[in-house]
Symmetry: C2
DNA sequence: TTGAAAGCGATACCAG
DNA sequence: CTGGTATCGCTTTCAA
């Protein structure tokens, strides 16, 4: 690998002149030409470690999230990547999966990698654990989709409570009284918020809360499939189902169809995420559309602002969902 | 941020002793204790840039792939991540999306980031472009799922041709003669291979090839949905459909159901990926299950071997799919 | 505008 | 086993 020294020698100028050329300083045109040529001839590329050592910047941003399998996260990452890259930053992605303890380890690992900032979808870490890990270094962090209570960083969230509230109200206005909820584990921030919206809607319409209508588990297809089956086995089964995640909705719809019930006629099913596929069905199913692209863009923007020195108080933005009936 | 110097001073030993302690060298026990304490007290962490500059290693592996939205890639990345991480490596992930030109840019960017090795799912880059970018640096590369013809690296592939061959043979043995193919764009390596298997099976059974039965497009839900609709609009529509991707299959199934056709009774639909959901249906649908986890693990293993100095000739492994009827 | 030289923080050789 | 020191490749004063 050629170094800046080799370029300087070949171009017949000093190292500092090459450096200046590289970083947009003033270099006399008659010097630019040989430098350009030498760089091309040697296929020179700046050593990122040397540069990082000197500048204390790596040009990378860490992304810590639960999984890449759910399309929700994939879409956010797509726009996030675009936003960051447009400003010269790379993403270093780590998924902690559902494996316990991994979230903590990966966070530590990521912080030690020398990333300049962090996009963090937290799940199961306490305020104390987080602070202990990030403690001594003042790294910009944006929490996305979820928050650790008490951890004061920039935050970008979807309006989870509002979404399930609206969805349940809609189902009630359609005449439903037995409305089930298929949702994620209670340790997950979004699942807790979505439960609140569900309960609030029932309460506003004075519909008694029946805890046998709630099923929570991992946010995977099986949870929706088995959840629906077990709901149908109830003495007084629900007539409507609110699913709070794409995989769960897919499982529920599949289970319904396999039982001979065709939504929305035979049973109302409210989807979440991946609007495209629910809208595509005939008749289409109502669905909560989360603003994935906005989330990714805004999270990127917040982080970029911090990276370029913005020091205002933490910002928390709650983005509206779009509900397609 | 504390440096190794601070630790040395606080512990009352020299920098080199601390370095040795850090890297598992021999240090007298009575020195270890104060060093350990100083590290804890100062919350010291080695500066990755300084270390990288000296060692010429970054401990990161680049991953360049088309998208994170398809579950196929997400699953591979999960096991890949585990394999790499167990050996102290991180992934730096870049998705080039469907956007043209991005694949090239991101490859360049990744190479300049100082990754130690590369896991690459190529799509639209020529041998020459690839070689020009990687040219002067001897970086270990493993091509996964796809190959650039003529680029001689370790390779891990699924048996695409075999899978579609078997699937079509199965459909033929079930009595089908009009078998459609909903697949990806022809620029994609896997799509080309899958087409070959499809054609070979037809040919082996002496079934004439009808090009109006082939639809190719982006590997998204809409392609399957619209593809099926347009196939049904044919004067002599197919009785069986082979889908070569999860999203496409989902779209096709949805379109069929929306038209009142219930697979597999009214129309045979063969799925691909995400076996779970197809098997879950009643009756279940046949599906090609790709060995995502094996792919991720083996790709990781190949790369790790190269990273630790293995210099044998390039290896190419073709992993079997599992077909669930 | 240019170039010499001082680090950035860690590793590793080598002498003690 | 320990510690002084050269070195990795680059950026950044500071003089000229």
């Amino acid at each position: 690998m050629a170094t800046i020294k080799d370029v300087a020698r070949m171009a017949g100028v000093s190292i500092s002149t090459v450096s200046k050329y590289l970083n947009g300083g003033n270099v006399r045109p008659e010097n630019q030409e040989p430098i350009r040529k030498a760089i091309a001839a040697l296929d020179y590329r700046a050593n990122p470690h040397a540069r990082g050592l000197k500048t204390q910047r790596s040009g990378t941003v860490g992304v810590l999230l639960p999984t890449l399998s759910a399309p929700f996260f994939g879409t956010i990452l797509g726009t996030l990547d675009r936003a960051l890259r447009a400003n010269g930053y790379h993403m270093v992605i780590s998924c902690y999966g559902s494996l316990h303890g991994l979230e903590r380890d990966y966070l530590r690992f990521l912080l030690n990698t020398g990333v300049d900032g962090l996009i963090y979808f937290p799940e199961n870490l306490s305020k104390e654990e987080f602070q202990e890990l990030t403690g001594s270094r003042p790294m910009p962090v944006v929490q996305v989709d979820r928050v650790i209570p008490g951890v004061d960083t920039d935050v970008v969230l979807a309006d989870n409570t509002g979404a399930t509230y609206e969805a349940v109200c809609y189902l009630i206005r359609q005449g439903h009284r037995r409305i089930a909820l298929l949702t994620g584990s209670n340790v997950i921030f979004t699942a807790r918020e979505r439960l609140v919206g569900y309960l609030r809607a029932l309460s506003d319409y004075e519909i008694p809360y029946d805890e046998t209508l709630i099923r929570s588990g991992d946010m995977v297809v099986a949870t929706g499939y088995q959840g629906l089956q077990s709901l149908l086995a109830l003495p007084d089964p629900p007539t409507a189902i609110l699913c709070t995640n794409y995989d769960i909705a897919l499982g529920a719809i599949t289970a319904a169809r396999d039982t001979g019930l065709h939504p929305p006629g035979d049973i109302a099913i409210f989807g979440y995420d991946c609007e495209e596929i629910f809208s595509m069905m005939t008749p289409s199913l109502p669905v909560v559309m989360q603003p994935e692209e906005e989330i990714g863009t805004l999270a990127g923007q917040y982080l970029l602002e911090r990276l370029s020195g913005f020091a205002g108080p933490p910002r928390c933005t709650r983005l509206a969902n779009k509900i397609i009936y």
